[in-house]
């Protein structure tokens, strides 16, 4: 366990850990992308992962819901090792909402159907129920008037908010954001971040990979700085941003701001 976790032990007990990444390694052939990652995420916590490109932060996030298969190490979700054999990975993924950099909306389905399809097929909700929840979630992200549009008719920011609504409609226990605003024009970023802020305020457990420093500082409970496939430093935004311990962190933050 890292130091910062010890610091927080008074407020967060071991029982609160919802996602535990244990000694996670990931290699593509000879290329070792993740070299032993250990992260605990507590229920209701917003963890922001920072780091330069190629630091392995996206790969780490994709390992959490097993879109990438870890080379070694474990992902413990709600007390169960989901990397073990015989785990209902689809059931687990339904509880781990993910938002992608490229939105990945289904272009052949209307906005509403995008949000409904997994509810109907995975959670076996009725069409009516799925539709009601879809409209409700789309309303929450400010797209109540766009439910019957096709994704191609929406701006990037709107598409990303649909993607968030699509993930939220599954009632996930944890939300994973993989550079959710990186593909957006600057003026569209704000709306998406606002939705993410609301979500954090509502108590959603979130692991957010981003380059938005202001968002990290304002919203994060904990900031993790990754580089070269390892966690270099972690702590509260104040600790990491204002008093970075590592030279590498300092250099990175200096570059950004």
């Amino acid at each position: 366990m890292s130091e910062s976790n010890e610091v927080r032990e008074d407020v967060m007990s071991e029982d609160d850990v919802i996602v535990r990444i244990k000694d996670l390694h990931k290699s593509y052939g000879d290329l070792e992308v993740l070299r032993g990652i250990d992260i605990d995420v507590h229920r209701g916590e917003v963890v922001v992962v920072l780091g330069p490109s190629g630091s392995g932060k996206s790969t780490m996030l994709r390992c959490v819901n097993l879109l990438e298969k870890p080379t070694s190490g474990q992902i413990i979700f709600e007390g169960a090792d989901i990397t073990a054999k015989g785990v209902d990975i689809n059931g687990v993924r339904a509880k781990l909402g993910m938002v992608f950099q490229q939105f990945n909306l289904f272009p052949h389905l209307s906005v509403k159907k995008n949000v409904m399809i997994a509810q109907q097929k995975v959670l076996k909700r009725s069409k009516e129920e799925a539709e009601q929840i879809a409209v409700q979630e789309l309303g929450k992200v400010g797209l109540g008037d766009r439910v019957d549009f096709m994704p191609s008719q929406l701006s990037g920011g709107q598409q990303q908010r649909v993607a968030i609504a699509r993930a939220l409609a599954m009632n996930p226990h944890v939300m994973l954001f993989d550079e959710a605003t990186s593909a957006l024009d600057p003026e569209l970023v704000r709306d998406v971040l606002a939705v993410m802020r609301d979500l954090a305020r509502g108590g959603m457990t979130m692991i957010v990979v981003t380059h938005e420093m202001k968002f990290a500082r304002d919203v994060a409970d904990r900031v993790i700085f990754m580089d070269g496939g390892v966690v270099v430093e972690q702590g509260t935004p104040a600790e990491v941003f204002d008093h970075p311990k590592s030279e590498r962190t300092r250099e990175f933050l200096g570059h950004i701001s």
């Binding site: 819901n65 879109l67 689809n90 059931g91 687990v92 993924r93 339904a94 509880k95 781990l96 909402g97 993910m98 992608f100 490229q102 990945n104 909306l105 289904f106 272009p107 052949h108 399809i117 997994a118 097929k121 995975v122 959670l123 191609s152 993607a163 699509r166 993930a167 599954m170």
Partner: protein, 447 residues
């Protein structure tokens, strides 16, 4: 010595003839009395009623086309005719121009005397009035030209009367019906064209006559049309069969199972690596030898479907692989399993993307049905070939080409429309799953 004998013999002969005539009369009167009680006229006998065959070949009499009517009748011994009428069926056109009434006599009726009557027409009835009463018991022949029976054809019944020297008019009984074959609008168009001077001028050019003979265009249209229906029947069954088959092959091709991948790869490599022509030969000549007898049509459908499936497989595979991996990831991250992802996310998008290529493949398959002519399936080319063989003109092949273009040209437009729509929606997707075959065939798509 000889004279009285002669007289006696002659007298006996006359007596015999009278007896026979009387008997015949009696029998006739009896028969008529039974059937047509109030009509005593049965003395004049119709010997023959024909219309001249006017079809290009054979002995059919066609409606809607000019023919000659010939009516021969034998007047009874004591009947001296002064004229007769013939009433033609409703809708029949005719003219008294060139009409002729002849009295045939002598041995084998070879002696001819022309009567030269006056003709008058009243509605459908032609009345012929002889200049003077003919001798009794003559054998007459009427030839009426420029007769055109109604186009729909069927059994046509004429009626006739004759007038005797004493002024009595009698009905002619027992007139046989004429069987007229119906003709289509195209037949009529053909006979119309035949008479047009411009057609003659057109056909005086060797090139035009060989490739674009209007008469053969018209006459081969209905024949090649039945081949067109056959080609459509083949492609419209074979293609829908090929789609699921090709799709299953493509799923096998991208599956992780080495065996499935191998089977699918083997199949498409064999099919795509050999000419369709050869596959048709093997199926049509090989299977009967092996004791498997399948009709020409179902076998043609099967061979075309199996051939097309291999190409469709590659189209689908490319289509599936052209879907961005993010689609799969998004679906899986929502908890959908492989099957659900395939069914609800990947396949619908694949079909949308491959629709233009699929249509191109349909065009190719449609054109490839022509290969079945080589094994006697009666499709477009086969029918054209039979007319070419009988007429020696290439025109039927040009007609065949028209029947291909009838389908391929509109579909080609559909393809480019679909492609434009796809390009408009997703401008980045330049690597549309165009099969190598489609490109290779782009050349022959222009014929």
């Amino acid at each position: 010595m000889t004279e009285p004998v002669n007289t006696t013999l002659g007298g006996a002969r006359t007596a015999l003839r009278r007896l026979v005539a009387a008997c015949a009369l009696a029998a006739c009167a009896l028969g008529c009395g039974a059937v047509l009680a109030p009509a005593p006229a049965c003395a004049l006998e119709v010997q023959k009623l024909t219309a001249q065959p006017n079809a290009d070949a054979g002995s059919d009499v066609l409606g809607g086309k000019e023919t000659r009517l010939t009516w021969e009748f034998q007047a009874d011994e004591d009947e001296a005719l002064t004229g007769f009428t013939v009433t033609l069926p409703q809708g029949t056109e005719f003219s008294t121009e060139d009409a002729r009434v002849t009295i045939l006599s002598g041995e084998d009726l070879m002696d001819r005397t022309f009567v030269k009557p006056k003709y008058s027409v009243d509605g459908q009835t032609v009345k012929a009035t002889f200049p003077k009463a003919t001798e009794a018991g003559k054998y007459f022949r009427l030839e009426l030209y420029h007769v055109v029976f109604p186009t729909q054809g069927g059994s046509e019944q004429l009626s006739a009367t004759y007038e005797l020297a004493d002024g009595t008019e009698k009905d002619v009984a027992n007139i046989p019906a004429l069987t007229i074959k119906g003709t289509s609008a195209l037949d009529q168009l053909e006979s119309f064209l035949e008479e047009q001077p411009w057609v003659e001028a057109w056909n005086s050019n060797r090139f035009l006559r060989l490739f674009l003979n209007p008469l053969i265009i018209v006459s081969s249209l209905p024949v090649v049309f039945s081949g067109f229906l056959m080609a459509l029947a083949i492609v419209l069954v074979a293609f829908p069969l090929a789609i699921p088959f090709g799709f299953i092959l493509s799923l096998m091709r991208i599956s992780n199972s080495r065996i499935l991948h191998g089977i699918s790869g083997f199949y498409i490599n064999i099919i795509r690596g050999t000419p369709a022509f050869l596959q048709i030969y093997i199926a049509f000549f090989g299977l009967p030898l092996a004791g498997v007898n399948i009709g020409n049509y179902p076998l043609g459908v099967i061979v075309m479907a199996m051939n097309s499936a291999a190409y469709l497989c590659e189209i689908f595979r490319a289509g599936i692989q052209s879907i961005p991996p993010g689609q799969n990831e998004a679906a899986r991250s929502l908890g959908m399993n492989r099957m659900q992802t395939m069914l609800y996310v990947i396949i619908p998008q694949t079909f949308r993307n491959v629709l233009p290529t699929l249509t191109s493949e349909f065009i190719l398959l449609y054109k490839d049905t022509s290969l079945l002519a080589a094994v006697g399936v009666m499709e477009i080319v086969m029918y054209a070939k039979t007319i070419v063989a009988t007429t020696g003109s290439i025109t039927p092949y040009v007609v065949a080409a028209l029947f291909y273009l009838l389908v391929t040209l509109p579909l080609t437009r559909v393809v480019s429309g679909l492609e434009n729509r796809l390009a408009g929606k997703t401008p980045a997707k330049k690597n549309s799953p165009k099969g190598a075959r489609a490109k290779a065939n782009a050349a022959d798509a222009t014929l």
